[in-house]
Subunit: 346 residues, 4 copies
Amino acid sequence: MIRLGILNVTGYAGAELARILHAHPQVKVIAATGRSGAGKALGQVFPHLAQWDITVAQEIADEVDVVFSALPHGASAQALVPFLESGVLVIDLSADFRLRDPQEYAQWYGGEHPAPHYLGQGVYGLPEIYRERLKGAHLVANPGCYPTGALLALAPALKEGLITPDIIVDAKSGVSGAGRTVDLRYHFSEVNESVSAYGLGGHRHLPEMVQEISALLVEGGRPRVTFVPHLVPMTRGILTTCYAPLRPGGLPSGEAGRRAVRDLYEQFYQGEPFVRICSEPPSTKHVQGSNMCLVYPTVDASGERLIVVSAIDNLVKGAAGQAVQNMNILLGLPETMGLEIPPLFP
Amino acid sequence: MIRLGILNVTGYAGAELARILHAHPQVKVIAATGRSGAGKALGQVFPHLAQWDITVAQEIADEVDVVFSALPHGASAQALVPFLESGVLVIDLSADFRLRDPQEYAQWYGGEHPAPHYLGQGVYGLPEIYRERLKGAHLVANPGCYPTGALLALAPALKEGLITPDIIVDAKSGVSGAGRTVDLRYHFSEVNESVSAYGLGGHRHLPEMVQEISALLVEGGRPRVTFVPHLVPMTRGILTTCYAPLRPGGLPSGEAGRRAVRDLYEQFYQGEPFVRICSEPPSTKHVQGSNMCLVYPTVDASGERLIVVSAIDNLVKGAAGQAVQNMNILLGLPETMGLEIPPLFP
Amino acid sequence: MIRLGILNVTGYAGAELARILHAHPQVKVIAATGRSGAGKALGQVFPHLAQWDITVAQEIADEVDVVFSALPHGASAQALVPFLESGVLVIDLSADFRLRDPQEYAQWYGGEHPAPHYLGQGVYGLPEIYRERLKGAHLVANPGCYPTGALLALAPALKEGLITPDIIVDAKSGVSGAGRTVDLRYHFSEVNESVSAYGLGGHRHLPEMVQEISALLVEGGRPRVTFVPHLVPMTRGILTTCYAPLRPGGLPSGEAGRRAVRDLYEQFYQGEPFVRICSEPPSTKHVQGSNMCLVYPTVDASGERLIVVSAIDNLVKGAAGQAVQNMNILLGLPETMGLEIPPLFP
Amino acid sequence: MIRLGILNVTGYAGAELARILHAHPQVKVIAATGRSGAGKALGQVFPHLAQWDITVAQEIADEVDVVFSALPHGASAQALVPFLESGVLVIDLSADFRLRDPQEYAQWYGGEHPAPHYLGQGVYGLPEIYRERLKGAHLVANPGCYPTGALLALAPALKEGLITPDIIVDAKSGVSGAGRTVDLRYHFSEVNESVSAYGLGGHRHLPEMVQEISALLVEGGRPRVTFVPHLVPMTRGILTTCYAPLRPGGLPSGEAGRRAVRDLYEQFYQGEPFVRICSEPPSTKHVQGSNMCLVYPTVDASGERLIVVSAIDNLVKGAAGQAVQNMNILLGLPETMGLEIPPLFP
């Protein structure tokens, strides 16, 4: 059995790691820390995990092969440095190793990067794009939930040069994306029966999207990306609607164009275990609790604009599930191991 | 007292008309028909209206001064012709008199228009734009819920020439927008905890938006409009997020540009009783049950794109409330009469 | 105009008072305090009240005729004493003047009563039971939300001696009943899609129910009351299901017995503007935003047990609406003034 | 591999069977029928099951070892007779083999039983009570969702003679309990933000409860059971609150009594893999998607009444999960095989 540690199991992403890893046949979580709740049984913090005999620890004392961090940014890099130095495989669910430019990091995350010398070593953990690089990696920067939804929706169009990079990402997220933070904004009575936009002045996932979209651009250059996240009254799920101008002349008109786009997407994701191209716009509920990403690409009525809708579970493909997928790749295990959980519906 | 009739009080828009008109001091609903439920007391169909002594009728038998129709398109125009011919003021909540081009109507609504000779007489009932024309009108085409949210968000930018008309309208609606139709798509277990896009192949509110955006364009021409509606797990409310390129050179950069846009919007809607410009992105819950439209205009991080977010209650400003506002205008009553209902929060 | 003050307008009950009083034709709120938010415009705290020009104050400086307190218990009585001493009419939405026994108060509310000498002066503000006493009152103890739902369900059966006082009250409340308190228990992601019981060791509304049920018992004695409140994933509303043994021999069997119980309830509440006996079990949504209480009494299959279901909006009939109803009584105004707001449905 | 068939996979219980059995290592579903949707891929009916290559069939043509029926009552028994006659193991999720008295069946299910000669062969599939009998069974009557929640809450108290059998069962169910039936009552806009009681005139799960409670009574006799189900605005989950008088003198008073009750419950369910006694009242969300039943027994403030709260997922322990648990028992497999799915939280 491969020995795992989880830093900060007491948030939603950490608990979701625990849920998924519990069913994984080749690994064993031997230590899990929590910012609050150290000393408690995990089942006291999360009754749904009560069957699992684990105590929340102050720190990871025993030797582990892989460590996951679900700590907040800043704290995460700091806590991970000793593991990196002793050769433990590291999968960081925080944003600390996602942006490759330390100045960008400082601008968006408010402070100098705690371990800039490791920035170059992190591999951005989107397996559908970076699988080969991930195979030999020691440090995985697990993508943000919004970038995961947006990049999986846009990657085929970008890599195949279907669109000009003038992109709008309009995302709708469930409330669990905000974490377990206690705040009036996430009070049931305030958020239920309500939709709102936020982060219009600049959300931290925007530079991450821009960095990764740039990397996918066939002709280089810097994309123009507008990103507006929205909070919707549900617990899990992100629906991402992306808009971009089609390059002129690239597609037949009408239904044939739509078919061509769909074929292109199906080819791009051929064989991917966790991406499925849909013939109808997807619902977030169809991926609830699973690592799947559903993608629906189409062309608008004018024939000039690509629209792509993707659906993920923000805590699974947008966080813990993708982290386990990355772990499987790092360890040379079958990529779907422990992740063949069907969605919970209805 | 002014005598009113309601055609099809047994849907959500009809019931909302009843709720609002009940509190209006100058009018009295003397007849209300229902497709189902004729002969029943209104309170049997809608227990929340039980205190109101009205029986659902087969037809409007008595003389009325104003008739509201909440019938489906097609049936609505047919039922309204006799009233139009006898000089009764007509406010049509269906789509029948919104599109001025009978061919567009036939294309989008599947069939010839039942009363094309009246098409030219309808005034599009968006008071913030067409108040003067509405004052002498006999036939009001009450706007669709999505167009109301989009047009109030875009009108100032269009009329002031702030943007080029290459517009994306990404709207998020509560389930009541689909009406009281019994369908698996609106089954609680299917739609709860789920967000999805629909109508990507072309929603009927798109030609209505295009027609009205065209009318607002300072330089004429035909706008390019992409419209994607989304279903979110709540009962009431539409949040509309609009995107359009700013004309180059029109605005100072950064915060000053945002401030300039807000000033322009505040000036445009100065004195409007039912539009408020917000300094924070609005929540649909802040207008629940009321006729208000909240509008938040801003500029994205690149400084090149306008983003406007608007929030309405789809059944009030998006349907019955706006219809009553139009009635007040037609009758020369104070525009806010009966509509000064504060939103229900939380 | 009658001059009103509101203590603590910045919680849900206070905001609901503001919403209702805004539409009342005979009163004017001239001062409203807030524990947080003093100095802010009310619309900054509650955007849905932005149209109302009022600033949250530190204290009520000007002379008022009536003061409402939506302060927490303890603080409420303390703040109200000066008003009581200067003869201002006082309506207290807190629990401070509900229990008539200071020892009970100390036991359940953890501390000596701040103004025990006023305990005898408070009238329990359930107009359907205590209307006559309320007419001359100076101090109204506005009932708790759970007791309101339970007492209106049980009063006819108790006063008419239909049941033996061995009562179970199983109540289901929306989350707004917990107030605007920021707490992990009310975090959207924790409470959505979940039902739970709480307060099984003894909820503060239990002694209030026992006191008032005792007062309604025709034969005296002390009732046995078991009360279990439940939290359900909705914002507003309390559904209360009450169970009690029917006195033997009191009723015909079968449908005739059910009919007799319903007749008894209809007679008891004859003419009450805010109680309606239903022929079907009510839904909380049918009273959303209104001061109505719907009551459905029936007999179980065995013929030996009375079941009564009641539905109220916890913030209206369960708090602010009932407080305004009490104010109308105190002031000799028509009892329904400002309260004829139809429920918001759907 | 053991070969399975599912009758009516296209409802919620059938789909849930598919979800659970998909992950079971020892069985393979080789045929699944659907009332609607025959000929379609399962993934067209339920996109969340798209990864599973199965076509909805008209009937089960191939040989199977076990058949599950998720057909409606009446149709279920009819369809199962041929399988029973050919010696296939049958697990019936419908009500057809639950009531042992054909007259009771006729009274509650409106019609003669289609296969009364098999009534005596069915074993009521509540493993915690009937495990030994299930071991040799050929026909399992899988319990109803409400009886499962109520019986697991009450069994220890009944079998140990702790209470007198004068029982109230107040249950709160998510909407999926009503199945995938399209009906205005389950329309999102009608049921969201609303709680209501139903079935007060007699719900079909009442005679099932009475039959099974009678069987558990130590002293025999017929219990008096009042059962009121409620619909709450969530998709999955049943919270059941049970009330019954404690036999006098059986327990120490106060906290010691509560402790004694909890000990008794813990002993009773010692070693049960799917029942856990909680020290806090449970939330339905803590069992979402899992086969667990959480039970919280306590004594009310008077010391005279037992209160027990249980939480299950109505589609898992209340239907498909319990059916798989029963299958494991019938087949001699480890009882938890395929069912060790942690709940989905949040």
